[in-house]
Amino acid sequence: MVISSLVISSSPTAFDAVCDSIGKMPKIEIVEKQDSKLAIVLETDSTEEAVTIASEIQSLDGILNVELVSHFFEDEQKQEENQ
């Protein structure tokens, strides 16, 4: 289990559309909306998956910037060890 939080800034005109499409994406929880910015929490199985989702978000129309705020990955290591 990997949990990361991101801040997404979008252009003000596309903000609603961005909220919509991000809201529809799986494994994403929107925690806060403000002006043209979004704070989200990602819960994924692996870091790679988190990165994929982040780049998916990046490629949406009207996205200016996606910033990683925090990233917790301990469990992933444990899983690897178990395997």
Binding site: S11, N65, L68
Partner: protein
Amino acid sequence: MDRREFIKKGFVITAIGTVGGFSLVNLMGRSREIYFRPPGALPEDEFLAACIRCGKCVQDCPYDTLVLADIRDGISVGTPYITFRSVPCYMCEDLPCIAACPTDALDHSLTDVNKMNIGTAVITDREACLSLNGIRCEICYRVCPLIDKAITLNKQEQAITHRHTVFEPVIHKDFCTGCGICENACPLDETAIRVIPSERGDKAGHYFYLREQQS
């Protein structure tokens, strides 16, 4: 008064003088919190012990960067310091101040001026910084003698016009010598970039995951 009594009295004088002087030294006020010392200066306590207040470094500084502390500076009287906003250190490659120092208050083993460490510049006022607001300023970056090493530009889209770039000056502690040219040149009345002492933050060196990832 016989000799014995006299010596006894003398010891009393000495004792009172020492105790009184010691407390006086420790009580003396200072006109500033932090003194930025010349290149290669020892840590402040050791510097104050080793500097014999001869003023040679001040005399040999070609830019009058170094100024002597006066009576208002308490125990620092007669020691050299820098006020970046007046004259910063222009980083002479031959380090005349260190060459002038008769003691080891300024570390004679420092020969590469780019390795000196007077302090570290930081952007102290991010809201006032013109560059961070999208104005093409970045004066601190361009005047930096170690341009592209000590200060680089981090580029982001300007969030209001969506067609310009914010060039954010980013200071790299490993390269910043604390020469203060950036602080001197900052066009704001209250500078947004300042030199602060290098020893700060997490001295224990705890682990930064994200920073490790980036580098």
